[in-house]
């Protein structure tokens, strides 16, 4: 099956690239504004979510219940006029409930035949709510879709429409009856986004918006084609040598068996970041460079994306778990050690 992405591919004219970069900045700004209408506060989180989406990555959103995780993702989809699907993960959720299955249907001619019924995964923006409540088998169904961008049902491969991003949420409080995501699946998430409690001002604004008559919705603009073009544009951005070296040093410094790793890594880390972490950082930094009006990645573009790109890819050892050393503190030390802080 051939997927018609409708993408223009790489642009051959500098003027066209400049025009596309301007569109990207405008689109990003539009999304910030539209999401800001619905989702109060957390500007940095919104920016990271948009970066993740424009880089065609998947996000793992972690936060307590009621902080607006679902609202945030839905608003993103609405603002871009994309197809949105929400999957509430429970222990009895089956892979076919996610990917779809073959159903025996009757054709207009009266013949019965199997036809593939698409699951909710066939959307542009998929919200997998409380993914850690799904069984590992169901989680693995997400795994293939997230990585390969297609699903295979009864031996037939069905490509997913692009743009395709899965935003999974998980509740860090209620861990009973959950299936923690395996490292392999965690590594497939582009960013891990953490939603904290809103400030007092933001909370007051939330109350005002949600308890009044007026209902604010995001204005849809742009579309899937624009997002694909933006992704193609992002990939054309070049990486300067200092930024590349910084990323490489960062990733290597998270491994305890690498010479020169910080002491905290050697003491508390079991497994370091994978090459996917470097890919995530570079792609997100490219998007940031475009937003800054540059066509190359500088080291300054890397630093803001280090934490969301690495925080779920560092696996602590027993001592780290026992002493409750957070991944964020480890990453901060790593940044200091490699001079990226």
């Amino acid at each position: 099956v051939i997927d018609d992405r409708g993408s223009s591919g790489t642009t051959s004219s500098p003027a066209a690239i400049e025009a596309q970069a301007a569109v990207f900045r405008e689109c990003f700004s539009h999304l910030q504004m539209e999401i800001g209408k619905v989702f109060v506060g957390h500007r940095a989180l919104v920016d990271q979510l948009l970066l993740c989406f424009f880089c065609q990555g998947h996000g793992l959103i972690e936060g307590s219940p009621g902080l607006g995780k679902t609202l945030l993702v839905r608003t993103l989809s609405d603002a871009l006029n994309l197809r949105f699907a929400r999957i509430q993960c429970t222990p009895d959720l089956m892979p076919a409930d996610v990917t779809g299955t073959n159903l025996l249907v009757e054709s207009p001619s009266g013949q019965r035949e199997f036809a593939f019924q698409r699951g909710p995964i066939f959307a542009n923006v998929v919200l997998a709510d409380e993914l850690n409540r799904a069984t590992p088998r169901t989680q693995s169904a997400f795994l293939e879709a997230m990585q390969e961008r297609h699903v295979t049902v009864f031996g037939v491969t069905h490509p997913l429409e692009e743009p395709f991003s899965v935003f999974a949420t998980q509740n860090p409080i209620e861990m009973e009856g959950t299936y923690p995501l395996p490292e392999a699946q965690l590594d497939r998430f582009f960013f891990k986004l953490r939603i904290a409690m809103p400030s007092v001002e933001d909370l007051a604004e939330i109350l005002d918006r949600t308890t009044s008559v007026a209902r604010v919705r995001a204005t849809p603009r742009y579309g899937a084609v624009t997002v694909r073009e933006m992704f193609d544009l992002i990939k054309q951005v070049r990486v300067a040598e200092p930024a590349l070296r910084l990323v490489l040093r960062l990733v290597r410094a998270t491994h305890p068996d690498v010479e020169g790793a910080p002491k905290i890594v050697k003491t508390y880390v079991k497994y370091g970041a994978s090459p996917r972490a470097a890919q995530s950082m570079i792609l997100a930094a490219k998007a940031l460079a475009l937003l800054a009006g540059r066509y190359h990645v500088a080291a300054d573009d890397v630093r803001p994306v280090v934490l969301p790109a690495l925080s779920h890819r560092i696996i602590r050892n027993f001592h780290g778990e026992m002493e409750q050393v957070t991944n964020e503190s480890i990453i901060e030390r790593v940044l200091d050690a490699v001079g990226g802080g």
């Binding site: 500098p14 951005v237 070049r238 800054a292 080291a299």
Partner: protein, 388 residues
């Protein structure tokens, strides 16, 4: 934005690439120049310290004369040039320095890395870098400033240079060059010295070089001292009357006003055999050679080694030399100047010296008033009574 850098105008990518490289090269040239100056300070300090060390510890090597100073300066220049060449920054390194100094966010480094890239994005990167580079000043990136290292080096250099130019060796504090007097036993004084580099005669730096060409000669003459003594030997230059008579007390063979020679400490302290001339005869390694006092590498064994009679009569151009016995210029010395610290057989040298003494005594061209002096001197040499 210049037309060459407008990406929409379809200008060849090589244009912006060349412009970026040329601009960064301009910055690099300044960086190299500053590095050269810094390295020159370091190298000059090193050379000066070494020279000062030799100046203080080794009396046979004196760096005070302009030729030596020029040589030292040349050495420092070569060292600085070589170090700068080896450590010269690359274009990428220079670009990184520009980015860091002017906070260009890796614009220049990226543009240099994409210099050969023909993609439109690379053209945009080069254009942006060029726009920034054209507004930048080289002095902002590579300012001329004295850091702690250079300042410390400059201070050390000044101290070392002062140690070279001002004689800090105790035995030389009252040496003849300070009193504008020439030694009667110096090759340069006796006309033996060619007009070339004289590493051993610090009097050149003091502007009192007595004899430097063939029209000068050491002339034993009657002392100007109102109380003439038979055992007084004087020297003067043919064209200069500034060299005053130097008196030597009887039996000591030393000018009374040269304490360093009387002590003979320079040769003793260095352990080196000191060349000397008297009456145009180069005397080397003789027991009394140290008595001549003046270090003169050029005069070392100048008249000693090869001539059968033990004395070398100069050619026509030096025929005006009174005394008739000359050590000859350095060019006639087949053995060449001796290196510092090189040893020679004392017996052989003494034999040669005695032969020279005999030759001098048998000749009749020594003024009568000086014959006794010369005789006693050489007899003293023969008896091994010279101060060592």
């Amino acid at each position: 934005m210049t037309p060459a850098s407008k990406p929409a105008s379809g200008v060849a990518h090589e244009t912006t690439a060349d412009a970026v490289v040329a601009t960064v090269s301009r910055f690099r040239a300044r960086a190299v120049a500053i590095m050269f100056v810094r390295q020159l300070v370091m190298a000059a300090t090193l050379v000066a310290v070494v020279a000062a060390g030799f100046e203080v510890t080794s009396p046979t090597i004196i760096f005070g004369d302009p030729t030596t100073l020029a040589f030292a300066a040349l050495t420092a220049l070569v060292m600085a040039g070589a170090t700068t060449y080896i450590r010269r920054p690359s274009l990428v390194f220079t670009g990184a320095a520009i980015d860091r100094s002017l906070q260009f966010q890796d614009h220049v480094v990226a543009a240099l890395a994409l210099a050969d890239d023909g993609s439109p994005v690379a053209a945009l990167v080069r254009r942006d870098a060029l726009d920034r580079l054209r507004k930048a000043r080289t002095a902002d990136v590579f300012p001329v400033e004295l850091d702690r290292r250079v300042t410390a080096s400059a201070v050390v250099f000044s101290v070392a240079l002062a140690a070279i130019l001002t004689d800090v060796t105790p035995q030389r504090l009252d040496s003849p060059r300070a009193s504008n007097e020439a030694s009667p036993f110096d090759a340069s004084t006796t006309g033996d010295a060619p007009a070339g580099p004289n590493f051993g005669d610090p009097s050149e730096s003091a502007g009192v070089r007595a004899v430097a060409s063939s029209n000068t000669a050491a002339v034993p003459r009657e002392p100007t001292d109102p109380s003439p003594r038979e055992d007084t030997i004087t020297t003067k230059t043919a064209d200069s009357s500034s060299s005053g008579a130097m008196e030597t007390p009887p039996g000591t063979m030393w000018p009374a006003n040269d304490s360093s020679r009387g002590a003979g400490s320079r040769a003793d302290s260095a352990g080196a055999v000191r060349p000397a001339t008297i009456g145009g005869v180069a005397i080397a390694d003789a027991p009394g050679a140290a008595l001549s006092g003046r270090p003169s590498l050029r005069g070392t064994a100048a008249g000693v080694p090869t001539s059968a009679g033990g004395s070398q009569v100069t050619s026509e151009e030096s025929g005006t030399q009174a005394g008739g016995v000359s050590g000859g210029p350095l060019a006639t010395n087949a053995a060449g100047p001796r290196r510092f610290g090189a040893s020679r057989s004392r017996d052989a040298s003494t034999a040669v010296t005695r032969a020279q003494a005999d030759a001098v005594l048998t000749r009749d061209d020594i003024p009568p008033a000086r014959r006794r002096y010369v005789r006693e001197y050489f007899l003293r040499l023969q008896s091994g009574g010279g101060k060592r």
